[in-house]
């Protein structure tokens, strides 16, 4: 599995476990809107950011914690890949 795919799977698994318990994993696509789609509220977003920072060992810049960078698994994974 390549690095990008690995990141996507990690993020997806975390989102399913924390914010969508019981959801069929096949329903959560790389392009599913998370923030504008009502899945991540502001507190959930903070939890996700903390998870990413701890898991990958870097700090997200303040301006990166927004809907532009975090709205889909695809966006999130691109952001992580640019850092690791």
């Amino acid at each position: 599995m390549n690095v990008m795919e690995d990141i996507k799977q990690t993020v997806k698994a975390y989102i399913l476990k924390e914010f969508l318990p019981g959801e069929n994993p096949a329903e959560l696509l790389d392009s599913t809107p998370l923030i504008t789609g009502g899945i991540l509220d502001s507190i959930a977003t903070l939890k996700l950011v903390t998870f990413i920072e701890e898991k990958y060992g870097f700090t997200l810049q303040a301006h990166e914690v927004d809907v532009e960078h975090l709205n889909t698994i695809s966006d999130i994974s691109k952001l992580i890949q640019s850092k690791v």
């Binding site: 959801e23 329903e27 599913t32 789609g37 009502g38 509220d41 502001s42 903070l46 303040a62 914690v65």
Partner: protein, 521 residues
């Protein structure tokens, strides 16, 4: 200053005494002096007059919080009209409903909303005139819009209107139990009496720097805007994005030397947890005011452990009265304290009492509904005479007491403690939510047969849970139903979790059994 008769006189007075002082700062976007804010709002007043706005009209504000939006508020008030702010992050259909409901003459709007707004209004009513801004930030988009329009029309030089104290100043729409938001009508007198009370208790001065956290459609913004401008102080606008992001907010409050803070408690709790507060200097901060929901003592204590210098006030009051009781929190909080602090005693401009189901006043120590009387109490709900009548208790002297719906008890020290709601309204992160409005939205989903929404609270705050039963095997995925909610409700109203059931439990009278739903949660 002489006793003002209208809210916008605060601005014009400060423009005379503090012309070059910064009135409003918008981090990374700009700032504006009292002189320039007064001038910009004058020009907007003239433009609104040209567009047909007359005293007694309503004008919508469909803008992100910005210097442009603050100037819009004053321009509208100076035209003698009431401003109606809507949440630019809420679904356009909801905002179109609001602006149509109170038939605004003009809507001041960011052009990015125009197309979808027109489409929504076409379905329900008459299009108001639009004053379109190419964006917001620092006041220049409003200036540009006024310049652009001035080319095509002569601007009459009008005067700022000072009508009666009883004229409407603004209408704030809150969640409505029938599925539609309802407009709380507030007059100049309502706001002036509240602002004067704030002056008395918080003693603001022109060196104060207020942070504005609340959105403009939220009644906390009344304190931010009008108290700071009354005293020639500086208002620092905190954008919605920064306001909920502790790692951005914590340094901003320090760098901007904020001295008076007013927000809902949830962001204070998040700051203590995620804000790295020990890294920054908060020596300018002298007042921390919070309102909108219960502040868990655990989080409040944790916040105070970083900031022990300011005075802390718990403010309480519904939009219908603005703040009506207050309580000063001790610093530090005694170790043995675990239960939430009281909401306190009545503010000096209001009177309060606790009544039973029959409206009879109760003695201290008994549980009952808190009622409020005095000059800050709203006129009523826009175009809802029956709901307005039901909101008040009229005593034998003919005085109107607003029934808050909040159940309280008065302690031996005269402080009220909040116990809960009489109805189905909850506060989540400071937002007022009618659970019924969420249910109405859920019923619009084609697969939903039954919907029931309950609120659960623990030490982390309030969580909203929706129970659904679906038609046949049409059960939507969790993701789909969340997205549907996000398209039909403001994001803070999207339930935190969903529970699908074959059939919802019913009482013997065939009503949805909410008690049972709470038990199984």
């Amino acid at each position: 200053m002489p006793t003002p008769k209208a809210l916008h006189q605060f601005l014009d007075h400060a423009a005379g005494t503090h012309p070059d002082h910064v009135a409003v700062e918008e981090p990374n976007k700009g700032k504006i002096s009292y002189r320039n804010l007064a001038a910009l709002s004058d020009r907007l007043r003239d433009r609104l007059y040209y567009l047909g706005v007359r005293p007694g009209d309503r004008v919508g504000i469909y803008l992100s919080k910005s210097i442009d939006a603050v100037a819009a508020i004053f321009g509208i008030l100076k035209a003698g009209a009431a401003y109606v702010p809507v949440d630019p992050t809420a679904p356009v259909s909801r905002n179109a409903y609001i602006l149509n409901n109170c038939s605004v003459r003009v809507a001041i709007m960011e052009s990015r909303f125009e197309a979808s707004f027109r489409a929504e209004i076409d379905l329900i009513g008459v299009m108001p005139s639009l004053l379109l801004l190419e964006g917001t930030g620092g006041g220049s988009p409003l200036q540009a819009a006024l310049r652009r329009e001035a080319e095509s029309a002569d601007t009459p030089g009008t005067e700022a209107k000072v009508g009666s104290l009883d004229d409407l100043a603004y209408i704030l729409y809150t969640s409505g139990s029938t599925g539609r938001p309802k407009g709380v009508m507030l007059t100049h007198q309502n706001a002036l009496s509240f602002v004067d009370w704030c002056s008395e208790v918080f003693e603001p001065h022109d060196r104060d720097r207020f942070s504005s956290h609340a959105p403009l459609h939220f009644d906390l913004s009344i304190l931010d805007i009008f108290v700071s401008l009354k005293h020639g102080a500086t208002l620092v606008l905190i954008s919605a994005n920064i306001g909920k992001e502790p790692s951005l907010l914590a340094p901003l409050i320090s760098e901007r030397r904020i001295s008076i803070w007013y927000s809902s408690p949830s962001i204070l709790g998040l700051l203590a947890e995620y804000g790295n507060l020990d890294r920054y200097d908060y020596s300018s901060l002298r007042m921390v005011l919070f309102a909108g929901e219960v502040f868990p003592v655990k989080h409040l204590r944790s916040f105070q452990s970083f900031l022990s210098k300011p005075r802390y006030f718990n403010l309480y009051g519904p939009t219908e009265t603005n703040v009506c009781t207050y309580y000063e929190i001790p610093v530090p909080i005694p170790e043995e304290r675990t239960e939430p602090f009281p909401i306190g005693k009545a503010c000096s401009h209001l009177r309060t009492k606790v009544v039973n189901e029959e409206g009879k006043e109760l003695l201290a120590g008994r549980e009952g509904e808190l009622c409020v009387c005095g000059p800050a109490v709203m006129k009523g709900y826009w175009n809802l005479p029956e709901q307005s009548d039901r909101a008040f208790l009229v005593d034998r002297h003919g005085e109107r007491w607003y029934k808050t719906g909040d159940v309280v008890t008065e302690g031996p020290d005269g402080n009220y403690s909040y116990l809960g709601r009489r109805d189905r309204m909850v506060k989540k992160r400071g937002y007022r939510i009618e659970l019924g409005e969420i249910e109405v939205a859920l019923y619009r989903h084609p697969a939903v047969k039954e919907a029931a929404v309950i609120a659960l609270s623990d030490s982390e705050g309030v969580r909203i849970r929706a129970f659904l039963s679906c038609r046949g095997d049409l059960r939507p995925s969790l993701i789909e139903i969340k997205r549907f909610c996000a398209e039909n409700l403001p994001l803070y109203m999207v339930p935190d979790n969903f529970c699908f059931q074959g059939l919802l439990p019913r009482t013997s009278t065939d009503k949805i059994d909410y008690q049972r739903l709470k038990e199984i949660s």
